[in-house]
């Protein structure tokens, strides 16, 4: 007993001796006015742009960020609750640029944009802070994309491949599976040496709760962090959320790791920034967005990168999501983000309601850099498949009018129908690359032509299961070795063997 008492006293003594009173001169100011989370402050003559300021009152300390520097006052946004701040309150400059805590202990947690836990699992211990705004890595540090991100979604991995370090936009109307694609991609990163960050901007808390439980169910929370700025949070938190997520991503990047970050969604982010800008009385432009709304997203997405070996070799892959209003991709924010990113996955309502899920429109979706990151076998089969898909689209539109078709066209149409079936995929059921290659190979070589269209899904499932049991070697070879005749023969044999079991 005395032991522990002494220990405690010793601890306190050492703490006291460690303690150094720092009494530097502090820059202070007074709140002139506060409204809608925007504070005007007088004084603070030596404050810097995007510096943190403290609002002191009896209840607790609230932080703010300087966004406007004017001749005789400064404008700031309040990060958090601004109800307790009153006119005349004292404001002190902290001398620090806005930074968030980062660390490995954030993995598997749900946090808010300023790094505080909100999942009730206890305080997060971190000792590092990263600035929220950082200039993106320069040309010297970068390298072109050469490793794939396997999303586990057939339509994407084959036709719109994504590489590590790429920025691929997911765009479409509400409720047609944009988030589902991102979540599936996160789930499929298990064992792929990838950290994932899901930034929810202006989402419903109920939706995020269901996402968390789904990720937990599939064991994806072991490598995923969720940053939540919900619909009920003030616009200031929504505004900093993606930057704070990227700060965490950069922490992993600096350790040489690969990171996948999803911003869900950037249209709500732009709306939050519009709100702040208008309240700060910045002049509105098109659709009432401020003039620097392009820079808002370009500086964020530019931080996605693939670093070369000398700089650690890590990568940040960004999957921003944009919600369109009734398919209007030519609105201000969608066109901006389309032009910033390295390609887009366009989801189409018509396809979704016809039952083609994921509703990826292969014609309008592109990936500008990802194809160089595909594995060799996938590159071979996907090229042919893309051709088949394009021919089918053309013929299908044409064949609607006439019934008299020549044999060749009929074959193409039948093949196309089966291709459509193959591209259908349930949510939360990612498929490995090797499996995907096998299925596509079966399709383009006519192995599925004699299967009825309704049975294609069943056939595919059976084939994958059979390959898992009898063809493990072949699957491994697809990923690892060259795509040559030998391998092709093995794949053919495997598929024929499976067909004999039907």
């Amino acid at each position: 007993m005395s032991n522990t008492k002494d220990f405690i006293i010793e601890q306190i003594k050492s703490r006291i001796s460690e303690y150094k009173a720092d009494t530097a001169v502090k820059n202070t100011g007074k709140v002139i006015s506060i409204s809608d989370g925007i504070v005007k402050i007088s004084g603070l003559s030596a404050v810097a742009m995007s510096e943190m300021v403290e609002f002191k009152n009896k209840v607790k300390t609230v932080y703010g960020v300087i966004l406007n520097l004017e001749e005789d006052n400064v404008g700031a946004i309040v990060l958090g609750d601004y109800i307790d701040i009153k006119e005349g309150d004292e404001v002190t400059a902290s001398g620090k640029i806005l930074a968030v805590p980062v660390g490995d202990s954030m993995i598997g947690r749900v946090i808010n944009p300023i790094g505080e836990e909100i999942d009730g699992k206890g305080k997060i211990e971190t000792d590092k802070y990263y600035p929220i705004e950082k200039i993106a890595p320069g040309v010297i540090k970068r390298q072109s994309v050469n490793e794939p991100v396997q999303t586990g979604i057939k339509a994407i991995d084959a036709m719109i491949p994504i590489g590590r370090g790429q920025r691929e936009l997911i765009i479409g109307d509400r409720q047609i599976g944009k988030t589902a694609i991102a979540i599936d991609a996160i789930i499929n990163q298990k064992g792929q040496n990838m950290k994932c960050i899901y930034v929810a901007i202006g989402q419903k808390k109920s939706k995020v709760a269901s996402i968390v439980s789904k990720l937990e169910k599939y064991g994806a929370m072991d490598y995923t962090t969720i940053i939540l700025a919900s619909a009920s949070d003030p616009a200031s938190l929504l505004y900093i959320a993606p930057y704070s997520g990227t700060a965490l991503a950069e922490y992993f990047l600096d350790k040489g790791e690969d990171v996948l970050i999803v911003y869900d969604d950037l249209s709500k982010h732009a709306v939050a920034y519009r709100e702040i800008s208008l309240l700060l009385r910045r002049p509105p432009g098109r659709e009432a967005y401020p003039g620097d709304v392009f820079y808002l997203h370009s500086r964020l997405l530019e931080r996605a990168c693939r670093l070369n070996k000398d700089c650690g070799g890590g990568s940040i892959t960004a999957l921003p999501i944009i919600e369109t209003q009734s398919g209007d991709v030519s609105a201000y924010i969608p066109t901006n983000v389309i032009s910033i990113t390295d390609g887009q996955i366009y989801l189409e309502p018509d396809m979704f309601y016809k039952g083609n899920r994921p509703a990826v429109n292969a014609g309008l979706s592109v990936s500008r850099v990802g194809s160089s990151a595909q594995i060799k076998a996938m590159k071979k089969v996907a090229g042919k498949m893309r051709l088949e898909a394009a021919q089918y689209r053309e013929l299908a539109a044409f064949a609607q009018f006439g019934s008299d078709l020549d044999q060749e066209t009929k074959v193409k149409l039948e093949r196309g129908k089966r291709l459509n079936e193959i591209l259908k995929q349930d949510q939360y059921s990612p498929i490995s690359v090797a499996g995907q290659v096998l299925v596509f190979y079966a399709l383009i070589n006519g192995f599925i032509d004699d299967v009825a269209v309704e049975n294609v899904v069943m056939f595919e499932k059976g084939l994958l299961k059979y390959a898992e049991m009898a063809g493990k070697k072949v699957l491994e070879e697809i990923v690892e070795s060259e795509f040559n005749e030998d391998l092709e023969n093995k794949m053919k044999a495997l598929i024929s063997d499976y067909k004999t079991t039907l």
Partner: protein
């Protein structure tokens, strides 16, 4: 000259007043201030007078390098300490003249809090104890 369709801001009034009384003697200044009040009445801007005088005094202080400061202590401060504090502030700000408002606040227990311009130097015992207790808690 103020025009008819733009309102004159309190700051503009204060700057105008400062500029016009520069290098004038007492009699002239009296005349200028009378004219100034007339102008305010004519422009229907008397309600701004409080704001104008506040800005005017801060401009005046800046112009003549006067620094206003506030010193908060727990007990009444003696002459020597006051003089050395004045010296300290003069060195720190480079001002020609320092005005000191003393205030006694028992709550800070000991030490001083010095406020000048928009800076605060908090050397009070209360803050130190609070910081120490925070550092032990964490």
């Amino acid at each position: 000259m103020p025009n008819n369709f733009m309102k004159v801001l309190p700051k503009e009034y204060a700057i105008g007043l400062i500029e016009s009384i520069k290098g004038k003697n007492d009699n002239e200044i009296k005349k200028i201030t009378d004219n100034f009040v007339d102008l305010l009445i004519k422009n229907n801007d008397l309600s701004k007078s409080e704001n104008i005088s506040r800005i005017f005094s801060s401009l005046w202080n800046k112009e003549n390098k006067i620094v206003e400061s506030e010193i908060i202590t727990a007990k009444k401060i003696d002459g020597d300490s006051l003089a050395s504090l004045k010296n300290f502030l003069t060195n720190k700000t480079g001002a020609k003249k320092i005005t000191i408002n003393e205030r006694i606040d028992k709550n800070i227990i000991g030490g001083t809090i010095i406020k000048y311009n928009d800076k605060v130097l908090d050397k009070s015992l209360k803050t130190k104890i609070k910081k120490l207790s925070d550092s032990i808690k964490s």
